[in-house]
Symmetry: C2
Subunit: 224 residues, 2 copies
Amino acid sequence: MREVRILEIKQSVFADNDRQADLLRQDLKEKGVFLLNLMSSPGAGKTTTLMRTIEVLKNTFKIGILEADIDSDVDARTISESGAKVIQLHTGGMCHLDAEMTRQGLTGLETSDVELAILENVGNLVCPAEFDTGAVKNAMILSVPEGHDKPLKYPLMFTICDVVLINKVDVLSYFDFDMEKCKEYIHMRNPKAKIIPICAKTGEGIEEWSGWLKEEVISWREKR
Amino acid sequence: MREVRILEIKQSVFADNDRQADLLRQDLKEKGVFLLNLMSSPGAGKTTTLMRTIEVLKNTFKIGILEADIDSDVDARTISESGAKVIQLHTGGMCHLDAEMTRQGLTGLETSDVELAILENVGNLVCPAEFDTGAVKNAMILSVPEGHDKPLKYPLMFTICDVVLINKVDVLSYFDFDMEKCKEYIHMRNPKAKIIPICAKTGEGIEEWSGWLKEEVISWREKR
């Protein structure tokens, strides 16, 4: 596996994260960098989904990936195999990234040649939902083995996400997962959420998800 | 389903959580209540494992369950079917329980007739690991679909747990999960951790886990 860069990011000194997020969003708009914030529980399939997404979109956009973890560099090493630009961020034990930490990561990645930046946030359904990273869109992955009741237990995460990918649909028959109930619970939290069932392992649903993302980036670029 | 009690717990006013945890542990020792803190990612199988554990141990100990969630009462309703005493704690958005919040929960549960109290912490591999709840032992569940690399990414959780249950072994053949590597990574973080593969759905490994817990409670009661 390739060597990857590791950046130890520092905890923020800013009290007003919403203000920092708006400033970062404005900066990225001027630079033409679309930032997507990708969240999920540990092991829901963020990195595998990213590998598939890069495969589909790498000839359309110049892609850069921020891999945030408390420790290790396994995800950045995996992503580096795709050929995409990647940096591993270590959060110093922090359970989420805020806007200033995201800014540090983007600076470390060097985004002058990046059109689509994707932040793989720390695996956690609670804290990352509370901090605006400055992203244009928020996406999350819920995996089938986690169960269809998660929107009931982790309301904020489902409320703030523009799109929910329901991953690992290849193992649906092995788990007591009710897809219709899950969609109903997600829409209880967020009636506008786009829901796309996928299987990152087999590639099912990846065209639809990548198509959604591509349209979002293109319409954002046209409007800015 | 039965009606369950819901307690909205308040954020702590104490700066020194370690001191509060030691005080709670001392109080529980005097009262003869063994407290187990059970942690995992969302959807790893905490509630199903608890249902199995209650089934095996309910004639040995008087059991009380604290179900901590950000929202909903689905877990407490499930547990109430087992006949065990249970209370649903709502954390007001908090991503973990600390010692003072645990004390509020135990007071709400009323532990005068409880010998084994189990706290099902908020589903999260990061924050709960940072706060001593006052428990005698910490347990965690890692489920097969999450992947064997989690001890590399969430080091503290694996470091502080006395026992790691590897759940959902019935689906091992559908996932790229290396059991030997997983055990190796867990022991890298915590050489003393007891590791028990289980399947809460089928009951596999539940006797070994319940036996371990029973021995821990009995030896604690003899020593106190």
